[in-house]
């Protein structure tokens, strides 16, 4: 992916070049382009007059700031207790099994990224996951298969 310099400067202009703006700048950039390239972090470092290592250390600390490229669709599966008790373990395993990847990974074709997430506040219909921003609740292994197929089919159409 190419580093979009205009976008970086736009975001920095919006938040300013104070040290305290760093988390917000990185999160914004990551959200806009999916993840932060090494060059992007270097540009931010220069603008905020910080060592690049400092920028990387902050970027890699927060889960909402990505330093690696993500899949086309991101599954965020709730890993919190209410969902776990409602049968989350089976869904967790079904997702890993069906996608052939572990949590935190992206499929080799770049279609799916599988992530755990903390509570989504939808405990009444646990287990719950988000596909991108779309919530799916009362999950069963069969329902997961249907959902995954639905996205694949939608993409082919």
């Amino acid at each position: 992916m190419k580093t979009n310099l205009t976008q970086i400067h736009e975001v920095i202009n919006q938040h300013g070049t104070n040290r305290e703006a760093l988390v917000e700048i990185l999160r914004d950039l990551s959200q806009r382009s999916g993840y932060l390239t090494k060059e992007a972090m270097e540009v931010v470092a220069t603008q905020l007059q910080l060592p690049p290592s400092e920028v990387f250390s902050v970027a890699s600390f927060y889960t909402k700031i990505n330093v690696e490229q993500l899949g086309k669709h991101v599954i965020k599966f709730c890993e919190d207790a209410p969902c776990h008790i409602a049968g989350g373990r089976e869904i967790w395993e079904a997702l890993e099994h069906k996608l052939g990847i572990q949590f935190g990974e992206t499929t080799t074709d770049g279609f799916w990224t599988l992530w755990p997430t903390s509570c989504l506040g939808l405990c009444a219909v646990g287990p719950v996951m988000l596909v991108d921003d779309e919530p799916y609740g009362n999950l069963t292994p069969e329902k997961v298969t249907d959902i995954l197929n639905h996205y694949r089919a939608g993409d082919a159409a």
């Binding site: 990185l26 250390s57 909402k64 209410p82």
Partner: protein
Amino acid sequence: MVYRAHVLISGSPQCIDLGAREVKATLLEELAALGLANEVQVMEVSTLGHDEQGPELVIYPEGTQYVDLTADDMRLIVAEHLLKGRPVEKLTYQEPPSEPLPPPSAKEVRVVLDNIGKIDPENIDDYIALDGYIALGEVLSTMAPDDVIAEMKKSGLRGRGGAGFPTWLKWTFARRAESEQKFVICNADEGDPGAFMNRRVLEGDPHAVLEGMAIAAYAIGAQQGYIYVRAEYPIAIKILRTAINQAREYGLLGKNIFESGFDFDIEIRMGAGAFVCGEETALMQSIEGKRGMPLTRPPYPANSGLWGDSTNINNVETLANVPKILRRGAEWFASMGTEKSKGTKTFAIAGKVARTGLIEVPLGMTIREIVYDIGGGVLNGKKFKAVQTGGPMGGCIPEKYLDLPVDYESLAGVGSMMGSGGFVVMDEDTCMVDIARFFMEFTQDESCGKCVPCRVGTRRMLEILERICAGEGKPGDIETLEGLATYIQDGSLCGLGQGAPNPVLSTLKYFRDEYEAHIYDKKCPAKVCKGLIEFTIDPEACIGCTRCARNCPVNAISGKPKETHVIDPEVCIRCGICAQVCPVDAVHVE
């Protein structure tokens, strides 16, 4: 603005799962397209009572209730009911003759949640109409900062974020601190599993939080406030932004509030996904744009907080209580609750209970009342086993304490804590070792890595628990867990590390026999741990329908149609799908 119609749409988890967001989006689009956006007010509310038939909405003034909606239905309702005034009969809710709705529990008392669902959170006039900002006005015009703190002391309010530190005392420390400038922070980095009370308040009654912050700022002498919200709450952030702008327009934030000479403004800071940032020193590091890692205390934030200046940090629910205390009086607030724990507390009831969701009760109510009278008892008539309170740093409380009053001291006395109000009910089918392993996985993952005992210790504890759950537990494991727990508690800077061993310690205390069964008898009494159970098919019951074999993801089941099927335990991954799909319940777990 005066509206001719009001639409309340349910945003309950069930309704969202059934498509409420799409229906709401369609509603807004259609209203905009027909030029009705200024005539019809749309509000999302927590529930309308028929969650299983969602998406659901009700239209006033008629009070017509619609259920089971799709986007197409929504278009029809807008065109017919909202435009032409003709209710769409076929989509309205029909009261079933024999099943009246359960009445709301008389045991609940709403203080913090009182306005939610009654007001439009994006309209400051609604809040003001229900006496909003009166407390701030009175405080600024009639009370000295010390009077405010004295009133808070009389009320007995304690921090609702976890530890229960007296709010008035925290304010006093900040008030007395010598500092060039002072800050007030609202900690809205809610991250405990299943706890979403702060989100409800921020999304449903944001001005209560802003008003509480302004009063706190006046009491301690601060001019700038920050609300630190987790990035996972985009709706709360949007609503807060609107609320802050409206308050500024009305002169309730900014310069010279109520002509009193008092200046105060608020900025929102978004988190970026790190559970540990709910810890106050880590939170301030994050506001400063750094890695959110906790610092040594003392110095406490009251003396050296944001950028080294005096800072007061309160939780959302604590702050939302403040305007109500000052408006209705400390005596009123102190009349609820117990001797040491005053007022009400919200709890997010989740897990194996009939009615899940957010409740608010006076402190001191027993666990039994919450689980049975409000929660409707354990799901499917199963036996109550434990309740986990206090989030991932809390503990599991067993059945023998069902009559324990829920207050700060009582919960701490049995090895758990209040925390932010998580309340996860577990039944006989829950394995306590698996639960301990689960929470350890969470804390291990969220440990920021600064303190070695927490970083390495939680990892080691998790490995042992994983081994025990896999059926490879060894004599001595329990003792090692207990030893590690002590090191982690003693050697960690913040509450995350100090509390991380609690789920293990509390389950060891009350459910030690389950650990022993896993380690010595190689049995999981609740039949949860995969390494210790085996699925078999009862040859007497099996009808040879082949459904299990067709659904098995690893082809571990063999058998011809109409003949008894057999599971190969070597291939079986214990996913349990066969048991779920079997029409005659012939699959047994041993």
